[in-house]
Amino acid sequence: MQRPVKLDCRGVWKIYGPDPRRFLDRHGGAPSESDFEGSGMIGAVRDADVRIHEGEIFVIMGLSGSGKSTLVRCLSRLIEPTAGAINFEGRDLLGISPRELIDLRRKKMGMVFQHFALLPHLTVLENAAFPLEVQGVARRTREDRAREMIDLVGLSGREDYYPRQLSGGQQQRVGIARSLVAEPDLWFLDEPFSALDPLIRREMQDEFMRLQSMLRKTIVFITHDFDEAIRLADRIAVMKDGAIVQTATPEQLVLNPATDYVQEFTRHIPRAKVTRLSTIMSPGVPEGDYAGEVAGTLIVADAVRTLDADPRPFRVLDDSGAPVGTVDVAAAIDVMLGREAR
């Protein structure tokens, strides 16, 4: 039931410094931490493997300077990786010509930037229509499309404003509208909400989830905020010093951190916020008296009110809607209190 792979990147390196290629070769294609020390080279991305499936939200997360932006720029080929292979829909992204790359970006990719990157001399409408303008789409058509997008991100009525007349959150909405106007399949977002204050950030996250539920894009989302990652992600890749230390679902990250580093990150995350019912259910569905049915993908924290409404257990359903186990409110409360399950 795995969805097909959209973007496949293997063994990607990005090294900054004089003649990085030679440096890589000299160390057998995989320099270690000690090789970097004192060499004057910076390993911004080290041997990264990422497979992004169609329609999923893939979050890359790590502290500042861990190489997230560099990695996503390798994925969109804004910068050339020093080594590695990247496949986009089965095509070798690193091998295609500049022309094809331009074409690919026009038709298939969209990107949202941390500091919005709007063009200051264009209005909201013109900014949103810009990707179509460079493709040579007629004014009427492209402005109609742009208007739709502006409507979608909730900025109707401000089409003729200039970027500096908008708040940060509104500017980023324009950034989002612009990145969607050409109907990309693959949507990159590099810390889109980091420059916003917490309340607006939350609002924008909700907005983002709403959009995604309608559009179903394949998404690569960068953040340094673990809470944000957990809220949005289907899967998360945690980066440290240029390397990916673990790629997993939010739940797996919290419950089975691969390293101390990941654990350090996830320590403060309440388990109830990531644990799914399918994890805490007792497998098998004996005959009996049930209060109702709940989806196994539900998060405990979200489901606990439903479970609490009735003392009887609930049947847990899998993706296809078949009952696979049972759960009651006591199990949920154990998770919420951080108690080991009985």
Partner: protein, 669 residues
């Protein structure tokens, strides 16, 4: 007698600098005795047998270029003729439009087919531009400035000057932008271009007037070529910097949307950089105006020519009138072009409306222009401001000057004599006494100490070039004049700047004053000075000080203002008095800025010094000026290069000092 904070710059190397100064001073004082005692004339004079006739080589080369050089298909002369034609055609057109009128036929038989624009129309156009760029107040200012030109009888000359500016500016802007774009795209090109730009900005303008005069002959074309060469370098720099400062993510956004190279440049980079680019345009306008005035010496005519002839005739009133006209025009052009740089984009008008309602300003100005110009054909008063209505202030100025000279002659003379005896002459004696050989060594030592052996070698070679061309004595007079002027400019400017940096009200007043001083073409400074102090070193010095004051004030104010407020608060809680705060905290922290200001002051002083040759100094400026009058290309270029070398050496040494002090303070570039 260096102040404590300045001494900090030379921490640890004070004995070196003191020693260097002592030896130089001793050699300078006793060089003549030394020559007598050893009977070695080479000590004070560069041996004639060793002088290199670089100037003759250059002259010979230029002669060959103009007479014999050929590129196969066409000769060099064809090339210069072609350039002339390309520039002259639009220039004639603009001149016809503004003042001459369009005529068919030659000389006496010429028949006018279309009139020039009415003076009312020209004023309306500039006011409308100002309105479009900013607001009604600026429109008023622009209109008043241009009306002044008409009312005070300077219209015809002013329009000739304006025509030159209108031709030079687009060429300078387009050329500068093009070079800036290439530099932005190819770092190697920028590396190649940068020393050339440095040189262009330090070679005194007179120096390239000479070869240009030689190539293009006396007339407006030469003046325009010189103007463009002079005004373009800052535009190249500004464009490169402006393009580089477009945020990386905006460029990435452009690339992610699939922009091609062209689209990225014209749809993303250039529009995003536009506000900075407009600053460059403003600079081109101001420099063009400045140069068009200077270039009146090689045939540009216009207001500059009026000032020049007035100066020559010592016609005080005429000089001041034409000078004021330049000032007024400079202020109008400066303010309007600056307003364009920061112009707020406005909402687009409703496309459903008819054209004249969408663009009411444009429509009404167009109507007014057509009407007044047509009327001008029948009623001369519409075409040119009626002569009987002009006001002349000439006699008034002449009388004022006479009155000042009669009543304050003794005071002025006393000030002049005091400064001459106590400052100018001792410094002059010091510099002119330095034996050339030791001069080269001393400069190399100073450069080596501050910037390493490469700088030392460069400085030594450049100084040797000056000496070997037999220009040592004149170079030293140049250095003396610069030193004195810069000392006085700093003594006035730095305290003013410190004051402005600490006090908001002082800042507005001083800022406005400095802005106005900077808007004036350098030529203008000469007028009142010569009127009051007559020709000579002293007048030259005053004019240079006035011109070079601005950066001293600006950088000092900037240095003081950019100190972290917390550092000052820290000083305050440690119990510093205001005075201690200034001496112990603010000045040491502002030192890098002060040094950069000093550097700029020196650069401006050097560029102005050459103009002061007009008032009779005996320095390198005079050498260039003589070359200009004799059209001696070699002499002009060699003397010009010598001035440029002095500028480059002092620039590199001061920059190195500033960098060292920045590093010591741990602040960024």
């Amino acid at each position: 007698m260096k102040p404590a904070w300045f001494g900090g710059l030379f921490r640890g190397s004070r004995p070196f600098w003191l020693g260097l100064f002592a030896i130089t001073w001793a050699l300078s004082t006793w060089s003549f005795q030394l020559y007598k005692a050893l009977d070695a004339r080479w000590i004070i004079r560069f041996p004639a047998s060793l002088t290199v006739p670089v100037d003759q080589w250059i002259s010979a080369f230029m002669a060959w270029l103009v007479e014999d050089a050929t590129f196969g298909l066409f000769t060099f002369r064809d090339l210069t003729r072609f350039v002339s034609a390309v520039i002259e055609a639009p220039y004639d057109l603009v001149r016809a439009l503004l003042i001459d009128g369009f005529a068919l036929g030659q000389g006496q038989q010429a028949v006018e087919v279309a009139p020039s624009l009415s003076w009312i129309a020209v004023i309306a156009i500039i006011a409308a531009l100002a309105w479009y760029a900013k607001n009604r107040a600026l429109a008023m200012l622009a209109a008043v400035c241009f009306a002044y030109l008409a009312v005070f009888g300077q219209w015809a000359s002013a329009m000739v000057t304006l025509a030159s500016v209108l031709i030079a500016v687009p060429i300078g802007v387009a050329g500068g932008l093009a070079l800036g774009i290439v530099s932005y795209r190819h770092p190697w090109f920028e590396r190649m271009l940068r020393p050339l730009l440095d040189l262009m900005q330090t070679v005194p303008v007179f120096a390239y007037l000479v070869p240009i005069l030689f190539l293009f002959g006396f007339g407006p074309v030469s003046a325009l070529v010189a103007t463009v060469i002079y005004a373009m370098p800052p535009m190249v720099r500004v464009s490169t910097v402006a393009l580089h400062s477009v945020p990386e993510d905006v460029i990435e956004a452009g690339r992610m949307m699939g922009c091609k190279r062209r689209q990225l440049l014209w749809k993303v980079l250039v529009p995003t950089a536009m506000p900075s680019l407009m600053v460059g345009v403003n600079q081109v306008i101001m420099l063009s105006l400045n140069m068009v005035i200077i270039a009146s010496m090689i045939g540009a005519g216009g207001l500059g020519y009026d000032v020049l002839t007035a100066l020559r005739r010592l016609d005080i009133g005429g000089g001041i009138e034409a000078g004021l006209a330049i000032v007024v025009m400079a202020i109008a052009l400066d303010r309007v072009s600056q307003a364009f740089a920061v112009r707020k984009v406005r909402a687009r008008p409703d496309p459903a409306l008819p054209f004249h309602q969408r663009h009411p300003l444009f429509a009404s100005v167009a109507a007014l222009t057509a009407a007044t110009t047509a009327l001008g054909v029948f009623i001369p008063g519409f075409r040119l401001y009626p002569e009987q209505l002009t006001i002349t202030t000439g006699p008034f100025w002449t009388e004022t000057m006479e009155w000042i000279n009669v009543n304050f002659f003794d005071t002025l003379e006393a000030i002049k004599t005091a400064l001459l005896t106590w400052l100018l002459l001792p410094v002059k004696r010091f510099f002119t006494g330095i034996p050339w050989a030791w001069g080269i060594i001393a400069i190399a030592l100073a450069a080596g100490r501050t910037g390493g052996w490469k700088l030392a070698l460069m400085a030594a070679l450049m100084t040797l070039f000056i000496a070997a061309n037999g220009l040592w004595a004149k170079a030293m007079i140049t250095v003396y004049l610069i030193t004195v002027s810069v000392l006085i400019a700093s003594a006035i400017g730095i305290p003013l700047g410190i004051w402005a940096g600490q006090n908001a009200r002082a800042n507005t007043v001083i800022g406005a004053m400095i802005d106005t001083l900077q808007t004036l073409p350098s030529f203008v400074y000469l007028i009142p000075v010569v009127m009051l102090f007559r020709v000579g070193d002293f007048s030259a010095m005053i004019a240079v000080v006035l011109y070079a004051l601005a950066p001293a004030v600006r950088y000092a104010a900037h240095g003081i203002r950019s100190i972290e407020p917390e550092v000052i608060e820290a000083g305050r809680v440690s119990g510093c008095t205001e005075r201690q705060l200034l001496m112990r905290i603010k000045l040491p922290l502002a030192a890098p800025s002060l040094l950069l200001g000093l550097n700029q002051t020196i650069m401006l002083a050097i560029s102005m010094l050459v103009i002061t040759a007009l008032v009779g100094t005996r320095d390198l400026g005079q050498e260039v000026y003589i070359a200009l009058t004799k059209a001696n290309t070699g002499q002009g270029i060699v003397a010009g290069l010598s001035v440029a070398f002095i500028a480059i050496i002092s620039d590199r040494i001061l920059t190195a000092l500033a960098r060292a002090s920045q590093q010591r303070l741990g602040v960024g570039q």
